[in-house]
């Protein structure tokens, strides 16, 4: 399931709901991303995330489809917030259920790398020093390149 929403979410409740749907799978890996209290320009006041409704959800669905081609996963959940988000608040949650833990770990890791660099979101940091649009760091592009070589498949 893919959910892009302005509403805050509670990661524990989401994990519970997800794992209750997946009694037959042995492994569930989750990634929770939270807004860090420091921005590039100083103490963060808020993060603002834009998306392109419809296009963003489809870009995430494409990433999920790639992961499903590559690993044996039975279920996934991706929640991504948009709008204004306060420091310390959850911004993204990825949950993957699989029979075996290797598949769940790799798929969750892959989904996060691609969400960072290929899903249609635009992120602005608002700090005491002003506003700044954030683009992926070189490390984020390096992370996603890892999956384009065969050794991690």
């Amino acid at each position: 399931m893919i959910r892009v929403s302005e509403k805050p979410f509670e990661p524990g409740a989401e994990l519970s709901a997800f794992e209750n749907q997946t009694a037959d799978e042995g492994a569930i890996v989750s990634f929770l991303g939270k807004v860090r209290p420091k921005g590039a320009g100083g103490d963060l006041i808020a993060l603002k995330l834009e998306h392109y409704s419809g296009v963003t959800e489809r870009s995430i669905a494409d990433i999920v489809a790639k992961a499903e081609e590559r690993w044996s996963i039975s279920n996934s959940l991706i929640i991504h917030r948009v709008g204004a988000i306060d420091p310390g608040e959850p911004i993204v949650l990825v949950c993957v259920a699989a029979k075996h833990r290797r598949d769940a770990f790799k798929a969750a890791d892959f989904l996060m790398d691609y969400l960072k660099t290929e899903a249609y979101f635009w992120k602005k940091e608002i700090t005491s020093a002003g506003e700044e649009w954030i683009e992926p760091r070189k490390g984020d592009y390096d992370d996603v390149k890892r999956w384009q070589t065969s050794k991690l498949s």
């Binding site: 995330l49 290929e118 899903a119 979101f121 635009w122 992926p136």
Partner: protein, 83 residues
Amino acid sequence: MTRLLYFGKLADIAGGRMREIPAPDHVETISDLIAHIGEADAVLAAALADETVRYAVNEEIVSREAAISNTDEVAFLPPVSGG
């Protein structure tokens, strides 16, 4: 009317997230559209033509040479940053 959508930093440069413009007949592709925008705002046109920018017509990602018509929604998408 062609509806233009600007995302992220491109909205700041354009001074808004949405514009509706009547595109002249010689505007047949996104490249043509950027050139047309450049007649009024060269800075914005340069930003829209940057190699990191992607384009969507009616919510489908397309190349800069994709054909557009006068009733399309054209979106300009700068580098993304999710997660």
